[in-house]
């Protein structure tokens, strides 16, 4: 067992990739799903092991092939990503359990086994994004996750052929973003000769004044990452992609994909480029902050006018990503803390919402629109109440984890005296109540008298696990807050080891 665990950081990434290759050849979709579940259970236990390792010994650095840095590629598990690693493993397992029936209804049964192969590819690569310590390695994982997610999104063409256009759009825009990122890597490499993040910090210190090439490189890298994590105005690929994809796919990506990239984005911003304080301040105050505010309002307002519920949730995601980047643009401990808290909480909220909507859509042949779910509160009560809980968390009702996020965001804004921003954020929360109310009204207050159908426990149990965890983390928020404060401390106190 010891051999396994020493390589645990690598295994969490490599194992899903390997099994993906094997599953591609298995004809039976049931067997494929089962193997996926087993793999992910093992994945979760590895993550827990890593967490225990981290709590006892601190930062873990894993060197591939035992090549010492800066020559070799390394994975790093420190305060910043350990929390997300745990959440990732747990959430992915829950989503996979949920996904079986959903896939069967939305994808051709013959292909659903192969869908799990793509699913594991996506999981392995997303985990790689979370763990990697090498800037070019990030590009590789970024592209693997993009390709697998594009394929998964295009599987939605069985239901609606617009999924193909959405997938193509994402392909082009995502590839441009990734390539921008690589250009940035090129500049960084040209100036410092290293690709390892820890070494990059050391090498950059010789250019304490900063050079144009370095700033250009940084800009390319940051913009590229902003494209991939759908920060306004580079978000246009997200709404179609998430709304036409199969529901389980939307769940996975809405909850986790952009978050993993945002963690890396924050790392680069605060660890690597914090040396250039002037540049950092300009970027944060004049670019990230205004764009976040615009994202929040644009996302919320467009969501209010949406009839298609998945598109509504996608635009709401853009607004929520705006909250996260807003928190990160506050250049101190409390802001970064609030950002991490909302990363965790939003993953749960959006995941729960997409899962619930996915189940409601199962009986519908066409798009899930506001009209089509009328009265579903009575037809699918268990799922609808789970949706209610997740929605209440989205608008920030106390006793849900959304309230905790809002709390910390407000506190961060307040302690930095950004009062206008507080007012704007409060206003946007009030606007979010509008689109939430529209959904609730259609679900629970319609006059169609439906009989309650018996719902499939295989589906509603994962949804309720997420809903209950939303309430749990709303009341006992200390674990999430602790993870986030470990994360923010290791970032702000100047890059870990």
């Amino acid at each position: 067992m010891n051999i396994f665990l020493d390589d645990a950081p690598a295994l969490v990434v490599v194992l899903p990739l390997l099994i993906a290759a094997i599953i591609a050849f298995i004809p039976s979709s049931r067997l494929a799903w089962f193997i996926t579940i087993v793999t992910l259970v093992f994945h979760l236990s590895l993550s827990v092991e890593l967490f225990q390792n981290f709590s006892s010994f601190g930062t873990i650095i894993y060197e591939f092939g035992n090549w010492p840095p800066p020559w070799g590629i390394s994975f790093k598990l420190d305060g910043v990503n350990i929390g997300l690693q745990l959440l990732f493993s747990a959430f992915v397992l829950v989503t996979t359990i949920y996904s079986r029936k959903i896939f069967l209804s939305e994808i051709d049964p013959e292909d659903s086994g192969k869908a799990y192969s793509l699913w594991l590819l996506a999981i392995g690569s997303l985990n790689g994004i979370i763990l990697t310590n090498d800037i070019f390695n990030l590009f590789v994982f970024l592209e693997i996750s993009a390709l697998s997610s594009i394929s998964l999104i295009s599987l939605g063409a069985g239901t609606n052929r617009k999924a193909l256009l959405a997938a193509f759009n994402y392909l082009v825009i995502g590839a441009i973003g990734a390539t921008f990122y690589v250009i940035g890597v090129g500049f960084a490499y040209a100036m410092t000769g290293t690709l390892n993040m820890n070494d990059l910090i050391i090498q950059l210190s010789q250019y304490s004044e900063g050079q144009l090439a370095i700033f250009a490189g940084m800009s390319f890298m940051l913009i590229g990452l902003m494209v991939k994590s759908a920060v306004f105005p580079l978000h246009l690929w997200l709404p179609p992609a998430y709304s036409y994809a199969p529901s389980a796919v939307s769940t996975l990506f809405a909850a986790l994909a952009t978050k993993a990239i945002l963690i890396f984005f924050v790392r680069i911003l605060y660890e690597v480029f914090s040396i250039y304080n002037g540049y950092l301040e300009i970027f944060l105050d004049y670019i990230l902050l205004p764009l976040s505010l615009i994202a929040i309002f644009v996302g919320t307002i467009i969501a209010i006018y949406q009839n298609d519920i998945k598109k509504l949730l996608a635009y709401s995601s853009i607004a929520q990503i705006g909250y996260i980047t807003l928190a990160f643009s506050i250049n101190d401990n409390s802001g970064v803390l609030a950002g991490f808290v909302h990363i965790f909480n939003h993953a749960l909220i959006k995941g729960g919402l997409f899962m619930a909507v996915g189940y409601l859509a199962i009986s519908l042949n066409d798009r899930v629109t506001l009209e089509s779910i009328e009265g579903y509160g009575q037809k699918y009560p268990i799922t609808s109440y789970a949706l209610l809980v997740c929605g209440l968390s989205l608008i920030g009702l106390p006793l849900t984890n959304g309230f905790i996020s809002k709390l910390y965001i407000f506190q961060a804004l307040y302690s930095n005296e950004m009062f206008l921003t507080i007012g704007l954020v409060a206003l946007s929360s009030a606007l979010a109540v509008i689109y939430f109310w529209k959904i609730v009204e259609k679900l629970f207050f319609s006059s169609k008298g439906y009989e309650a159908t018996s719902e499939d426990p295989a589906i509603y149990i994962p949804i309720w696990i997420i809903a209950l965890s939303i309430i749990y983390f709303g009341i006992f928020s200390s674990s999430i807050v602790e993870f986030s404060s470990i994360a923010s401390e290791s970032l702000i106190l100047g890059g870990s080891n």
Binding site: L397, P398, L407, Q411, Y414, A426, S429, A430, E441, I475
Partner: protein, 482 residues
């Protein structure tokens, strides 16, 4: 029994009653008795707490920390004990009344009704005993959600529309105004605990206090100040036990109680007086008092008239809070008791009239007084108490409010209260005159429903009887403004 276990028992009893009603849903007598038994237990507990507070006892439970500076805290204040006493004592009578009304009117889904009724009482008690503003908010929302099925009980189109108005106004105002106001207080002071004298002084920028007050008074939609009052008449489509207990006692009182708690224990009366941040509210609540009374005059439906009367009377309490002088606050606190007693009598009577004579409109009350004299006897007592005629208990709270308004140099308010009493006389006593008018006697079949008649008689006589024991209440009310 320790103080903490008393508190916990008091909070859990209504939940046990709800659970009991659910378990015994097939035996209707057992099911309905849970409300009465629960009421008796909570009343005894509230009484013990009421007395205990006078003897300087503390009732505090701190379960855990929710987040920085805010705990899951229960802490009974004098004002809180008043509210819980009122709610629990009237619950007993309302449970008896509910049996008479629901069976007499042949309502369906009685089990669901009784269960949510008990849960709503639990929420009201938790609001009364909450230790900080966030706890109050959480149970305030629970109260809204648990009373919603009661408002929409009949499930016809009218009830559903009413339910929608009810929910959207109350939830909307609380999320958009009340919750941000709570955030604001927490951000400025780092705490939300109810403390005698308030927590804002010195920490909250005085120039913004007026905005905080506005956010709070419009955010606490249950206090029904205009223009946030629309939900109250809409909710009258509910069966009368709901209107009686919840919309004359528990829900609306929770609203004005919350506002009073904020004024007394968060802002602090002295700070509020100094900053003059509530002067505009004196005008607005006066406007509400007058306008609601005028609208009440125009209503022919008895419950609608009583609804607007309630809106008017609630603004008395808000007025007292806005004036923030000693007597005004005493009047406001006392008015919680007196108005609850008086109004529940009136609503009980309205329901009794519906069950016995199947009459809803005032114009059709002709001659009924001779057929059901007890109902109108109770009604008259309740009406006189609300009008403020001694020797009924309502006269005390009105007196204090008048003195309070003079204390604060608002002479016109004192005059207004007088005018309002005159209007009250007209619109509250008009039904009695019609009922005892020999000229318009109609032939109506009277259904017997004694359980709907005794509760209002008890509360009506209570208005008279308790006048002579006002000292008992005044002691603790003095404790509120000490």
């Amino acid at each position: 029994m320790t103080n903490e276990s008393l508190l916990i028992l008091g909070l859990l009893t209504p939940l046990f009653a709800a659970f009991g009603s659910y378990c015994f849903k097939n035996n209707i007598n057992v099911r309905d008795s849970f409300g009465v038994i629960g009421g008796v237990i909570t009343f005894l507990i509230s009484l013990k707490i009421f007395n205990g507070l006078q003897a300087e006892e503390q009732y505090v439970i701190n379960l855990f920390t929710l987040f920085n500076g805010v705990d899951f805290l229960f802490n009974i204040t004098p004002l809180g004990s008043i509210f819980s006493l009122v709610a629990s004592s009237l619950w007993i009578l309302a449970s008896i009344y509910t049996v008479g009304y629901m069976r007499g009117a042949g309502e369906k889904n009685q089990t669901r009704f009784v269960i949510f009724y008990s849960i709503a009482i639990h929420a009201a008690l938790a609001i009364a005993w909450s230790g900080n503003l966030l706890m109050l908010f959480i149970f305030y929302e629970i109260l809204t959600f648990s009373t919603f099925p009661l408002v929409g009980h009949k499930q016809d189109a009218e009830s559903q529309a009413a339910g929608r108005v009810y929910l959207s106004i109350l939830v909307g105002t609380s999320l958009v105004l009340f919750l941000p106001a709570i955030f604001w207080v927490w951000l400025e002071t780092g705490s939300l605990n109810f403390t005698p004298g308030g927590i804002l002084e010195g920490k909250f920028p005085t120039e913004y206090l007026i905005f905080l007050v506005a956010m709070l008074v419009f955010g606490i939609g249950k206090a029904a100040i205009m223009p946030i009052h629309r939900w109250l008449p809409a909710a009258m489509v509910a069966p009368t036990p709901v209107s009686a207990l919840l919309h004359a006692v528990a829900v609306v009182k929770a609203g004005v109680f919350s506002f009073l708690m904020v004024v007394v224990y968060i802002i602090g009366p002295d700070y509020l007086l100094q900053s003059k941040a509530s002067n505009w509210l004196v005008w607005l609540s006066s406007f509400t008092i007058l306008t609601a009374s005028i609208i009440a005059i125009s209503k022919d439906d008895l419950k609608a008239r009583l609804a607007y009367s309630t809106i008017s009377q609630l603004s008395y309490i808000i007025l007292g809070a806005a004036l923030a002088t000693t007597f005004a606050l005493k009047g406001a606190s006392f008015h919680i008791i007196t108005h609850a007693l008086g109004k529940i009598t009136l609503f009980f009577c309205a329901g009794a009239i519906y069950v016995t004579a199947h009459v809803k409109k005032i114009s059709e009350l002709g001659g009924l007084g001779f057929k059901t004299p007890m109902i109108f006897f109770a009604y008259t007592l309740g009406a006189l108490s609300i009008i403020g005629v001694p020797p009924l208990i309502g006269s005390w709270s009105k007196l204090f409010l008048v003195i309070g308004s003079l204390e604060a140099d608002f002479l016109f308010v004192a005059i207004l209260l007088g005018i309002s009493s005159l209007l009250n006389i007209y619109y509250l006593l008009q039904p009695v005159f019609i009922a005892f008018n020999k000229k318009n006697i109609k032939n109506i079949n009277i259904t017997k429903a004694p359980l709907t008649i005794w509760p209002p008689v008890i509360t009506g006589v209570g208005c008279l009887f308790l006048f002579f024991f006002s000292n008992y209440f005044l002691n603790i009310i003095n404790g509120v403004v000490a």
